[in-house]
Symmetry: C2
Subunit: 313 residues, 2 copies
């Protein structure tokens, strides 16, 4: 495991891929690798991209990645959107587009499937981020669907978060109201060739104006047509500008601290849940308690108490 980590930090992408698989499978020796990985990380720029299904996020990510490549940067892509073409949900047209990325050794793509209740999808994301970071990727792009709580949590800890909307989708405005407003560092209205773009942009801008306080950075709204590769340079410029803004305003360390806190929470959660549900002695206890809950001899709260009593100091 240590050997894999050493190879990963030296930029060996096959070692990176294997380590990521170990992270996804919660390999018991993973921590040995992550100790080494952590020492070499902390340099990558993390971009979170979220938005409704059908907004063209994956195509947009492909174009952003290619633009960063033009600027001489290496890119890691993490797709945790189950409907993403990166995750295998792709139609043929998307797959062909994606192959432009997969041929480039400067781009590393990893899609993460959904897992069971204890499997720790979100947990592994932090590990994957750290591994890509330590392996020398300059930019890491994380793609999620911006509606689940877990996804919102992840996106919150990016250096820069893009919220992608499309014109004419009545839900766009609802989505913004529903909490994406506060996590967006940049709004992107993709599919700028679709009718209704002006109205959608005006709606978003007036909503931003409503919530705007003087002296605070105003969230920019950009139009792109990712399929036609329009507006991408401007978007990447805006990402870079935001990055300079958070570095200049001193809020980058805050964002980093939040990320480490979230990672710590997740590791602890995973360790405890693995202990309770995988170790035979606890597993048997849990099963007998569930039987008693069903039979109304006990209730879930008292059962939880009983398990914790056997566990905690």
């Amino acid at each position: 495991m240590k050997d894999l980590a050493e190879r990963a930090v030296n930029g060996d992408d096959r070692a990176v891929a294997r380590l990521i698989t170990h992270a996804e499978n919660c390999h018991p020796d993973l921590y040995e690798a992550m100790r080494i990985i952590h020492r070499h990380g902390g340099r990558a720029q993390v971009i979170g991209i979220t938005g409704v299904m059908g907004a063209g996020k994956s195509t947009l990510i492909a174009e952003i990645a290619l633009e960063y490549r033009k600027r001489g940067k290496t890119v890691g892509i993490i797709a945790i959107d189950p409907t993403s073409p990166f995750t295998g949900g792709a139609l043929l047209g998307d797959r062909i587009r994606m192959s432009r990325l997969t041929m480039d050794p400067g781009i590393f793509i990893r899609s993460m499937g959904t897992r069971g209740m204890l499997g720790g999808l979100t947990g592994a994301v932090y590990d994957v981020m750290e591994i890509m970071d330590a392996s020398g990727k300059d930019v890491i792009i994380v793609e999620t669907v911006g509606v689940g709580q877990a996804e919102v949590d992840i996106i919150k800890i990016a250096d820069t978060t893009l919220v992608v909307l499309v014109p004419g989708l009545g839900d766009s405005i609802q989505t913004i109201k529903a909490g994406l407003m506060e996590i967006a560092d940049i709004f992107v209205v993709n599919k700028a060739d679709v009718p209704g773009i002006e109205r959608t942009m005006a709606e978003i801008e007036s909503m931003i104006d409503l919530g705007h306080r003087p002296g605070v950075r105003k969230t920019p709204v950009l139009a792109t047509a990712a399929k036609e590769c329009k507006g991408i340079t401007e978007l990447v410029d805006a990402i870079e500008e935001h990055r300079e803004f958070i570095v200049g305003s001193g809020s980058l360390p805050d964002r980093r601290r939040k990320r480490y806190e979230a990672e710590l929470v997740e590791i602890i959660r995973k360790r405890l849940m693995t202990m309770i549900f995988d170790e035979k002695v606890f597993r048997e206890k849990v099963e007998s308690l569930i039987g008693r809950i069903e039979g109304k001899e006990t209730d879930p709260y008292s059962a939880a108490e009983e398990i914790l009593d056997g566990l905690l100091k």
Copy 2:
């Protein structure tokens, strides 16, 4: 707290509402109420409804609720979709439609906002379900957006899960591929008045045929036009049929057991996280460790180990 529980199990909806608020806020004495609640629950039929944004889920839920009322049943609705009209994301037209529900004392609606990382949105859902169940609601409808892991977990434990799609949405098929296929007990193609309905239904049916094994129940596909109240009777008939099927095949207890297990996991998770992040002694430890992680004096895995060493037997 015990008094509130006693009143809730006697069908006092104001007590129900107050208990739910305590559950959402993780009130430290909640367990006292939940012990009583649990003894009175386990009778309600739980229907999960998931699907993409803009599929008209909320209107569909409203119509299903009204149909169950016609059949003499009381209904509880839990909306954990942040973009749902139930959750306040509603446009005016939706609000008017929803008011038909809120006037009926036989329908109890609760929308749940998203919470912070430790706040336990999903956790409270189990409590809310148990509270509504114990208070005598015959049918409980849970609405989620079917893309986040947490949402999928919740929907998995319903007695009957509806996956709602709309015609013409290219994403529909991707959505099915992306894992909703296995959780759907019934597919609903809503907005049946929109062009493309036949094609969408044919696509879904052929996909079901592909994965169909002889001797296994075949997932039905129904068309509805919720706004025009079309297809609702047939849909509720199909839900009842599915309910009879799981009762007859003996799989209802399995679904219930899964629900209790998920609830137990969530209570334990919440308790441990509250302990680690709210109790002063741990909170200080966590903050100092995050500083050391940032400074690369330690790494998240070693830090987690240190916290657990202070916690576990």
